[in-house]
Amino acid sequence: MSLLTVKGLDISFGTMNKPVTVVSRLNFEIREAEVFGLVGESGCGKSLTALSIMGLLPRNAYASGEIIFKGQNLLTIDRESMRRLRGKEISMVFQEPMTSLNPVLNIGYQVAEVLLTHMNLSKRDAMATAVGLMKAVKIPSPEIRIKDYPHQMSGGMRQRVMIAMAIACRPSLLIADEPTTALDVTIQAQILNLLGILRQERNMAMLLITHDLGIIAENAERAAVMYAGRVVETSSVTNLLNSPKHPYTIGLLESLPKTKGSPLKPIAGSVPKPDELPPGCKFSDRCPYMISACQKGEPALREISPGQYSRCIRSEEITWAL
C-alpha cells in the first residue's frame, strides 16, 4: 500500500526576473515499510524534494502539486498540523551531523526534546527513553554519553544520535538525505547496517537519498533516478541496474571504473543550470542517443515494462547490460 505519493510536484524559486523551476512534475510513491532510493548528482533536486516533504523549504521557494501522506496533502495542511506530523510521523536524518545538532545542548536533551514535544512524556521519562534510544542505535554506555556535547563525539556517533532522534516517535517514514556521505567507508557500513536493522524492527519506510549507486544497490528495493529536477527513470533496483532504460542511468553506470586501464565512458559535458535547460528532453544536450525529435517536446515518464518507467522516447530501442 502506498504511504507517500508525490504527484506533479513543482518547486521553484522566486528571483528578480522570473521564477526558476528546480523540480518539475515529480511523481513517485513510497509504499509502506519499503526502502525507496532517490539517486542523482548534486543540484538535481533530491534534497529539495526531501525538504518539501518535511515542509522545510526555504522561504523563497514555492512548491505546487501534491504530496499525499496517509491521505493528507502535506502541501495544503495548516502549519500546526504539519508541525505535529514533522518529527513524529515523518522524520529526517541529514547529511552533516555536526551542523544539524545544537552545539550548546547535550545529546540527551536533544534526543529527549522530540519526546517532550510529541509524546507528552515527563522530563524524567523522556530522559529514560532517550537512554533506551541511544542503546538502540548502539552508542556504547549511553547513560554516560547522554551528558556529552556534540563536539565530544565522532562523526559516526553523531550520526547515530541523529538517527536516535529521528526514530524516537516511531515514525512511519524516515527520510535519510545522504546519511553517510560525510563518513568513512567502515563507519558508513556500520550506519547503513544500523538503519537496515532499525527499519525492519520498526516496520518503517525509508526514503534513501544518495549519489552512490552502490548504496542503492545494497539497500533499496525500488528507486528513482533524478536529473535536472525530473525523475528520468524509476523501477525496482534490480531492473534499474541490470536493464536500465534511460540514457542517463546508463551514463551513470558506465561512469564507474570497471576493468583496469580501459578508458571510462563519462557523460559528456556537465549538468546545465536550472535556468539554462535545453528545450525538449532535458538530457538531450548530453545524450549519446539524441535524435532531432528529442528536442521537440519533453518526453513523458512512460511505462516501458511492468513497473519500469522511463522518460525517453527511445527507451524501447535501448538494450544495455553491464
Binding site: M157, D212, L256, S270
Partner: protein, 316 residues
C-alpha cells in the same frame, strides 16, 4: 629503488598542553617505508585520520618530518637548497582535493597556468599564450577560457585547470590528494580519463591518495593501506584486491558499497577509529579487529614480507 623512496618516515605534531602537563604528540605518520616506482601509480588508501595527506605534504616538503628520510631520485630532499630545491619543486607537483579552494579567485585561467611557467622561466614571454592554450587543450578545455575567472567554472572544469597548472612545468611526479572526492560520479569519470591518458602517454609517476577503492583499483599499480599512521598492508593492486591479507584491508574492501551485491553479509567493524593522539598499544587495529588474539594488544607487529607482499599482522 624508485623515483621516490620513503624510509622510516615519522611526523609527530605537538598537542597543546597545560603548563606542567606532559607533552602529548599526535602521531600522524608513524614510521612508514615505501617507494614509488618510476612511471607507475602508487596509491595510499585509508580512512580519515590515517595520515595519508600528511604523507603527501611531507613528500612535497611543505612540512618537515620528525624523523626519517624521503629520497627523490636518490637524493634526500631535506638536504636540497637553492637551485636544487627549485628544481625539486618543479619536478614534484600536487593536485588538491577541493578545486574550489585551490585556485586563486582573483587570477584568470591564463594567469594561474602561466605563473609556474614564468617562475621557472620555462618559455619565452611571446610563447606563453600558445603554451597555456595547448596545456588547456590537453585537459579538454578550449582557448576561449583564458581570460575567465575560477568562479565561472564548474567543479570538474576547475579540476581540469588544476591539472593543467600541475602539468605546466612538466613534472616527474604528481601527488594527487583525493582529486576526485569533490566531484560528481559522471565528472569523476571525465577527470579519471584525463589522468589515465596522462599515465599512458607520459612517464609521470603518481602518488595517488584516495579513499575510493573502486577508483584506486582502476588506476593504481601498487597500493599501501594506512591505518593510524602506519602501513598495514602493501602490495600490487591486483594482488591486494584479489586476496587482501590484513583484517583491516578485508573489512575495508568489503565495506565499499557495490553495484552488484554478492548477497553475502558484510562484516561490520565495531567502534570508531581511535584518536591518533591515543593510539592503542600493540597493533593499532586490535580494538576493532575481528581476529585479534594473544599478542595483539601487547606487541606491535612489523611489516613482514610474505610472497612478495607486505603485511603487518601477527597472523602472518
Amino acid at each position: 629503488m624508485g623515483i621516490i623512496d620513503v624510509v622510516d618516515l615519522k611526523k609527530y605534531f605537538p598537542v597543546r598542553k597545560r603548563t606542567f602537563a606532559k607533552q602529548k604528540w599526535l602521531k600522524a605518520v608513524d614510521g612508514i617505508d615505501f617507494s614509488v616506482r618510476s612511471g607507475s601509480v602508487f596509491a595510499l588508501v585509508g580512512e580519515s585520520g590515517s595520515g595519508k595527506s600528511t604523507v603527501a605534504r611531507l613528500i612535497l616538503r611543505l612540512i618537515q618530518p620528525t624523523s626519517g628520510n624521503i629520497f627523490f631520485q636518490g637524493r634526500d630532499i631535506s638536504t636540497l637548497k637553492r637551485n636544487s630545491l627549485r628544481e625539486f619543486r618543479k619536478s614534484v607537483q600536487i593536485i588538491f582535493q577541493d578545486p574550489f579552494a585551490s585556485l586563486n579567485p582573483r587570477m584568470t585561467v591564463f594567469d594561474t597556468i602561466s605563473e609556474p611557467l614564468k617562475i621557472h622561466a620555462l618559455v619565452k614571454r611571446s610563447d606563453l599564450k600558445g603554451t597555456v592554450t595547448s596545456l588547456l587543450q590537453n585537459v579538454g578545455l578550449q582557448a576561449d577560457v583564458l581570460n575567465r575567472y575560477p568562479h565561472e567554472f564548474s567543479g570538474g572544469q576547475r579540476q581540469r585547470i588544476c591539472i593543467a597548472r600541475a602539468l605546466a612545468v612538466s613534472p616527474e611526479v604528481i601527488v594527487a590528494d583525493e582529486p576526485l572526492s569533490a566531484l560528481d560520479v559522471s565528472i569523476q569519470a571525465q577527470i579519471l580519463n584525463i589522468l589515465q591518458e596522462l599515465k599512458r602517454t607520459s612517464n609521470i609517476s603518481f602518488l595517488f591518495i584516495s579513499h575510493e577503492l573502486r577508483v584506486v583499483q582502476y588506476f593504481s599499480d601498487e597500493i599501501a593501506v594506512m591505518y593510524l599512521g602506519k602501513i598495514v598492508e602493501y602490495a600490487k593492486t591486483d594482488e591486494l584486491f584479489k586476496k587482501p591479507l590484513h583484517p583491516y584491508t578485508i573489512v575495508l574492501l568489503s565495506s565499499a558499497p557495490r553495484i552488484r551485491p554478492d548477497g553475502k553479509k558484510k562484516p561490520v567493524l565495531v567502534g570508531d577509529i581511535p584518536s591518533p593522539i591515543e593510539i592503542p598499544p600493540g597493533c593499532p587495529f586490535h580494538p576493532r579487529c575481528p581476529k585479534r588474539f594473544e599478542p595483539c594488544d601487547k606487541v606491535v607487529p612489523d611489516l613482514k614480507e610474505i610472497q612478495g607482499r607486505h603485511v603487518s599482522c601477527h597472523l602472518f
